[in-house]
Subunit: 353 residues, 3 copies
């Protein structure tokens, strides 16, 4: 399978981009990102059209980026605006490709596909990431695995009791009976929802510091937007109190929603951007440090090694070719893979047409 280019991908967090160029590879394309003097975020192909140096190793000069090798400068349209050598002649093909970039919800989003289809309203709604009522712990890790393995991971949370019992999952020792949980799945257009409820359970390690009760109701609502942007709406309500809504923080509900923005780097590697947010105790810096440590443990030491071994053992990115045993709990993940396969096929057809 080829990667989906007609998709928004997170290329970084807004507050971390300055006039120091950043390099990132997305869907096999090398990009350089930087801000110009107006503060506008710009994304260009990272490869200088002269001798193919990495522009990200250069520096921003005014509203241009200067190539580190011979000093050519390029503006936000990708045009070379300075050749500092000889008579300064600029050949017509001295241009770098530009990439569509928008800022939304505190993140930088790039679109590598058909520009006519680039509609920012289709970006996953993770508005809590830069909502002042929430505090966010953000980061990114690199995973040696195809991005769909991370979709699978996030769309089937039954793995949490097995690999995250001391971090973000309930432990098997908590013996949650079948009558204490429910599961609901639906697909709306190309968006997949996978909602879990666990009733009268102790807080997971992730909630313990902030929820402050012995038991409660745990809600995990997952929203997947293709190709691989995922909202995890996590909350714990006091017993009998309904699930909270992210847009309306509530005293008796502890909400810690998260954005999990998976970005294919190559067919076999991914960037995993995460923002773990919360509306309670937002001044609690120690709580943020705890969340950061827990997130790193969860993603880097629990999920990533699992996904990397799976990548190695599959040795293909075509899951269905391996005829997997499909469980009831795979329904969301399978649906997402089918949607993706269709979108990639459409993309190829439209290119062919």
């Amino acid at each position: 399978m080829t990667l989906l280019l007609d998709s928004w991908y997170c290329a970084g967090w807004s507050d971390e981009l300055t006039d120091t160029p950043q390099r990132i590879k997305i869907a096999n394309q090398d990009l350089v990102l930087f801000r110009d003097t107006s503060g506008a975020a710009i994304a260009l192909s990272n490869r200088c059209p002269h001798r193919f140096a990495s522009l990200a190793e250069g520096k921003v000069v005014g509203d241009t980026i200067e190539c580190p090798y011979h000093g050519l400068r390029f503006d936000r349209t990708g045009a070379c605006v300075l050749n500092p050598h000889g008579r300064g002649v600029i050949p017509p093909n001295a241009k770098v490709d530009t990439t569509i970039l928008v800022e939304k919800h505190g993140a930088l989003w790039v679109w590598l596909g058909n520009p006519e289809l680039a509609d920012p309203s289709t970006i996953v709604n993770v508005s809590f990431v830069n909502d002042p009522r929430y505090v966010a712990v953000k980061g990114v890790i690199h995973v040696k695995g195809n991005y769909q393995l991370l979709n699978d991971n996030l769309l089937d949370l039954t793995h949490a009791a097995y690999i995250h019992p001391t971090t973000v999952g309930l432990s098997r020792d908590d013996s949650v009976g079948p009558d204490q949980m429910d599961y609901d799945f639906k697909t709306e257009g190309n968006i997949v929802h996978s909602n879990y409820g666990f009733y009268d359970v102790p807080p997971t390690a992730q909630f313990k510091r902030f929820f402050k009760k012995e038991r409660g109701d745990l809600y995990v609502h997952v929203t997947w937007v293709p190709a691989s942007s995922i909202l995890l709406d996590l909350s714990m309500s006091e017993l009998g109190v309904p699930k909270g809504e992210i847009d309306e923080p509530h005293d008796r509900v502890c909400m810690i929603p998260a954005a999990h923005l998976i970005v294919p780097e190559t067919d076999e590697t991914s960037h995993y951007f995460y923002a773990m947010c919360r509306h309670v105790d937002i001044e609690d810096a120690e709580g943020c440090a705890e969340t950061r440590a827990l997130g790193l443990k969860t993603f880097s030491q629990e999920d990533a090694p699992m996904v990397e071994r799976v990548q190695e053992l599959m040795a293909t990115d075509d899951l269905f070719a391996l005829r997997p045993a499909i469980l009831e709990t795979d329904i969301a993940g399978v649906q997402a893979r089918r949607i993706l396969a269709r979108l990639v096929a459409q993309q190829s057809e439209s290119k062919a047409a």
Copy 2:
């Protein structure tokens, strides 16, 4: 050339396998090994049929192995016997492949080829490995080289004076004259024997501590069983005393036979299991430590680097395609390669038929 699947391969030492799963790749197949509650050793494909996690990272629960990712459990027949999620439905293709495994001579032997041909009586006879009259120093190293290069190495011991003069070989300074040595080679069916005698020579470093004489007669009898199991029947006799027989330990003969069990991991890498045994001073723990250090030096620092450079310089596993200069002393190694080529061809034909 493809690898020979119709062959017994060592997958580990019996006394090192417990209910903690072990992972090993043999002939490009990823296996997990563990013992069930009865102590029986079991080998399964290491890849969970659900989402292809590595079962060896999971744990043994009773007589089953539990997948580390979502908790599916598989019994010794490879059948999934527990899906802990939802209604617990187990799809019919939730099965892992099983692998034939027998225990013999203190080792675990797997058979990856045609099950009808799996005859444990064809396993190389290295009974001394768990014979209580012998003490064994065992281990395994990993070599970045095709397994046949290790066959070659062990079937032509003339290299010992060049790369092992201070460990397991006679030094060239010992000036063994042509009248002090003989060499005998024979092939019986698919088994190759290569026997060396060195008369009135000083003990090698390997024998020095245990033989305790200034000079003696050194016998090295090599038995190769395809694809790559090798018995090294080493002994030193006091001058004039006949060569000892492994089955009949003898006071005036110092016997330190060894099993060299070469296992192709991939076409370009190998596992090298070794057991260096002896019937004298079997309580001498310091002697065992000395043997262990000497073995590691011999295999890891002398043989492996040589074989790895040869692999790199050959850049193929087809020795004959490179038209090597063949010496008289290559006869056993060449014969083994021809037998292997024939067995592999037969294997392909039987698959085609």
Copy 3:
């Protein structure tokens, strides 16, 4: 593109070759170099024809090299002259290929192509390397980039202000106006000259210690001989004093010529031999240490990382296939690439004929 075999390549510095064998790979060919008892330098294929061990791991015995694996010995013609085993029979194909090697200008030069074309008079003239009026700082680094990227680098020195401002280049702060510099380019047969003059400028870091004036005229005359041998004739003259000539050291001219001998190891990696020489203060050992440190910084920390990122971003060795923007200052580099492409094509044709 294939590599040019009909070319002289530096395989090392003369004064560093002894009777300890050295291994080097040039144009994908593994070679072993050593001196025999007469002091003659010999180059052979590094691969023993018996079991393909690396001869360079062996040792020189008299006028032969002894294979480290089984002790076969080969003379300077590549013939096996000793099989120490059995009856000592030497099979007719026990021969290693020889390689043409000459010593000139303090370097060892090998020729891997058509022997009839091997004319040592075509070796680049870097006689200052072993001219007693000069002192030399020599070394070699390994670069993960196609050798032509290093040709490009050395044939367009406009990069110096960008990546070498504190080592071998003028800083941009020195604001050299267009009237203070000139540039001259010419091709003579297959040799490319690219000459720069900078007038009334401060010494670069490279010249500072030795030139000892506040300002002067800087000359950089580059001579490229295919495939990739480059003479950098660098000098600074006192204001108004003509450029110095390497063959005639001059009191008021500071000459620090350099040999940059680029050697393709594989299509994607290179050896970079350098000799930075000078005719002034030749007893100044501290000055040599300073030059050595500056050279290492320039080549290892400035040029090599740049070239390695370019290699990665190009992902091909065919620059023109990527349709680069070509500047006026690329003329020498482009000319060299065209000459090389023609020589490689001729080489292929002559093989085909």
